[in-house]
């Protein structure tokens, strides 16, 4: 079911947190609300499920206007960061709760709970209590409880934040699998770009209560609208160089970088160059001289920081095995087609 948020405004004690936000999530789509803490992503989520009231704007689930409905009547499923399972009920009762308050008959409830437990792979846990489950299992229960009454939209508030790294990887694909199997419209709130990119069809990157960019993960990565977006996506992050356009080259402190054909007509004067670590290295020729100032071995790859002669630092990620030493002098090149150019105040050129 399509979800449409129009002109959404939210204030807390007179302070406007979100101002005139528009967001449309297509039916069956999984959308990530990504952003740093305090950007308003959780507020948006809590407003969609009705826990917070809107101060302005409208919210539609399909054709249904739910702007003024209390959360009980919105028919949304929510998975909270701490799962918010009811500790005094066993798993079956937890999952059955949304049906129980609708006063469905026991047979229907049991059937639906059984089905959803199969879907999230926990049929053997139904008799236990939340305290007896691991984090990942609790997560599955929370998902089952959110999905059992077939909500119009599924909202996930930092669902993986409380899990350890291994479980996080597992639950990432599990949540996506379940979302795809049920075909439900979903919104995932997260501050982790990897989660957002790996799980979602589209990402809305938020900053200070506004959506900065809304696009598919690969597009957002390769074609960011500004330095904030470029810097938020990618790990290790992009590095920036101040550069001057002269002699058909970007002139930087450490040397010259070729300008791609696409950029050539658009750039002039003082700019910022954004270079992702995977596009800087010996495989791209030479031209930038610097010293290795930091080495981080990550097993499959090595990460190097190269300090150029003017003091700017570029990151480079290389297949492991080269074993460069701290302090070594290198002369590496940049993949000109993938260098991103920004104006000095951060907007993409």
């Amino acid at each position: 079911m399509q979800l449409r948020l129009k002109n959404f405004t939210k204030t807390f004690d007179g302070l406007t947190v979100i101002d005139n936000l528009d967001l449309t999530v297509e039916s069956g789509e999984m959308m990530a609300l990504l952003g740093p803490s305090g950007c308003g992503k959780s507020t948006t989520l809590f407003t969609i499920c009705g826990i917070h009231r809107m101060n302005g704007g409208t919210l539609h689930f399909g054709e249904r206007d739910v702007s003024d409905l209390p959360s009980q009547k919105r028919n949304v499923g929510v998975v909270f960061q701490n799962y918010a399972l009811y500790p005094h009920m066993n798993i079956r009762e937890n999952i059955a709760f949304p049906l129980r308050v609708q006063k469905l008959d026991t047979a229907t409830i049991n059937r639906k709970v059984g089905e959803i437990a199969e879907l999230v792979h926990i049929p053997e846990l139904l008799g236990r209590r939340p305290a007896q489950l691991s984090g990942g299992q609790q997560q599955r229960v929370a998902l089952a409880r959110a999905l059992v009454r077939q909500p119009d939209v599924l909202l996930l508030d930092e669902p993986l934040a409380n899990l350890d790294a291994k479980l996080r990887l597992e639950m990432r694909s599990e949540i996506r699998r379940i979302q795809l199997e049920t075909g439900i419209t979903a919104i995932l709130v997260t501050h982790d770009q990897v989660e957002a990119m790996s799980m979602c069809d589209r990402i809305a990157l938020m900053k200070d209560g506004k959506i900065v960019q809304l696009s598919a993960p690969d597009q957002m990565y390769n074609d960011p609208v500004d330095t904030f977006v470029a810097g938020f996506l990618g790990n290790p992050p992009i590095s920036y160089l101040d550069a001057n356009v002269a002699d058909g080259q970007f002139q930087t402190g450490g040397g010259g970088i070729a300008i791609s054909d696409a950029l050539k007509p658009k750039v002039s004067g003082q700019i910022q160059l954004g270079i992702r670590p995977e596009y800087f290295g010996p495989q791209f020729g030479s031209g930038l001289q610097g010293k290795i100032s930091f080495v981080e071995t990550q097993g499959r790859e090595d990460l190097y920081n190269v300090t150029l002669s003017n003091g700017a630092v570029l990151r480079s990620i290389q297949p492991s095995g080269r074993r460069l030493k701290l302090g070594e002098t290198v002369d590496w090149g940049v993949d000109a087609d993938h260098a991103l150019a920004f104006t000095t105040d951060g907007a993409r050129i």
Binding site: S71, Q72, G77, V78, Y86, P87, F97
Partner: protein, 433 residues
């Protein structure tokens, strides 16, 4: 290894002194008093030995020989060594010698005969009748109406009156005016109709007050939880007032409310209801007032405990129940109340104990009235031991009443400690919220 620490003991000492002085000592004294027949008439120090006409009735009830009773009842005047010595001291040796010569060893069964014997004296004539009457008394061997400070003195007197050794022991017990050890209080406690009625009153009082406390406390806690914070805090403060008000003032307000010229009477007067004392008119009135007085005080404590327990329920859990479709009532019924299970149990058991032993509000309000209708066990203990209408304060029996409460208190506290498993209660939760 635990290290002996003088400073630690120093810090503990004041607490230990207070516990000993205000808890252990009263408990030990209660046990001690409960097994004595102490009362106003016995005093709490020792006593004397005194046989009176009224104690003769008790003497007859015991296994004392008829002869002894006769001896006690009849006053015998014996002209013996002791009597003669007393006479010699009162008048002179010559008189005594002459009487010894005339009537030595004689026994008279009435004062008249003794006086006649004194009249027989020729050499040392006693002229005045009044003197003869006084001197006759010197030869009396009766132990009646005479105070003896020690048992030995009393026994000597009894021996002098030719009372047999076993009877003497019986008489010593009857004549003793001080307190003695006895289990009579316990027997009395379980055989008196009134004590069973006090027990029934107590159960009635505790159950109803507790239900009111917990029910109303829950109602206040939940209703204020859903109110905006400033209003909720105002309400909580208002409801807390009865507890911080001095009990005497608080009950005085109830007097104003319920007196036959009080607020209720005046108000009901508008509808033609004749004024009456709404507190003491009937037993029902008294109970309603007692339960409300105690209930409002107790409910405020329940409210505070339950409110803070509700606040510990994570917001997300309440949000979750709302998006799951639960309305207010379902949220209370399925989410809040189940999580208040422990606070409710704790409050109930704690207040059961304090209600069992507390009587100050009843004392101030109805003083057990009307006609003992609201006399609960603790109040009965107080009345028996410390405020008896008859004036004879029965410390021993009162202590026996109190001892029952002490035993119930200690046993139930021990059970609660086990039941609540305090170690587990204070352990960290397994789910981090």
């Amino acid at each position: 290894m635990p290290r002996f620490n003088a400073l630690g003991f120093g810090f503990l000492a004041p607490a230990m002194i207070v516990v000993t002085l205000f808890f252990l000592a009263p408990v030990i004294l209660t046990v001690f008093f409960a097994f004595t027949n102490m009362s106003t008439s016995t005093g709490i120090t020792g006593g004397e030995y005194l046989l009176t006409q009224s104690s003769l009735r008790e003497v007859r009830a015991r296994s004392v020989s008829e002869e002894t009773v006769q001896k006690l009842e009849s006053t015998v005047y014996a002209v013996d060594e002791a009597g003669l010595a007393r006479l010699a001291a009162a008048r002179d040796a010559a008189t005594a010698d002459e009487l010894a010569a005339l009537h030595g060893g004689a026994e008279f069964t009435s004062r008249r005969e003794m006086e006649r014997a004194l009249k027989d004296l020729r050499e040392n004539r006693i002229r005045s009748t009044r003197d003869r009457k006084t001197l006759a008394d010197l030869f009396t061997t009766s132990v009646m109406d005479e105070r003896f400070q020690t048992e030995t003195e009393f026994r000597t007197a009894l021996s002098a009156a030719n009372i047999s050794e076993p009877d003497q022991s019986e008489l010593v017990e009857v004549a003793y005016t001080g307190w003695t050890w006895t289990t009579e209080n316990m027997r009395l406690l379980f055989s008196l109709d009134s004590s069973w009625r006090y027990a029934a009153n107590t159960v009635f009082y505790v159950v109803l007050t507790l239900s009111f406390n917990v029910g109303f406390g829950l109602f206040l806690a939940i209703s204020t939880f859903y109110l905006p914070a400033p209003i909720a805090n105002t309400f909580r403060t208002i409801w807390f007032l009865p507890r911080i008000l001095p009990p005497v003032l608080y009950v005085l307000m109830w007097y104003w409310l319920t007196w036959d010229t009080g607020i209720i009477s005046s108000f009901m007067g508008l509808f033609g209801v004749s004024p009456r004392n709404w507190m003491l008119d009937t037993a029902t009135n008294a109970w309603v007032v007692i339960i409300l007085i105690n209930g409002f005080v107790g409910a405020s404590l329940g409210m505070i405990l339950f409110s803070s327990a509700i606040k510990t329920i994570p917001d997300s859990m309440l949000y979750a129940s709302e998006v799951d479709g639960a309305n207010r009532w379902q949220q209370i019924r399925f989410i809040i109340l189940p999580q208040l299970r422990w606070p409710i149990l704790f409050t109930s058991s704690y207040q059961t104990l304090s209600l069992l032993t507390s009587f100050e509000y009843i004392l101030l309000a109805t003083d057990g009235g009307p006609g003992g209708a609201t006399e609960v066990w603790a109040l009965a203990a107080y009345h028996t031991a410390l405020n008896n209408y008859g004036g004879n304060l029965q410390y021993g029996l009162g202590a026996a009443y109190a001892l029952v409460l002490v035993v119930i208190g200690i046993v139930t506290s021990a059970l609660y400690l086990r039941f609540f498993n305090f170690k587990e209660l204070v352990s960290k939760p397994r789910i981090e919220q």
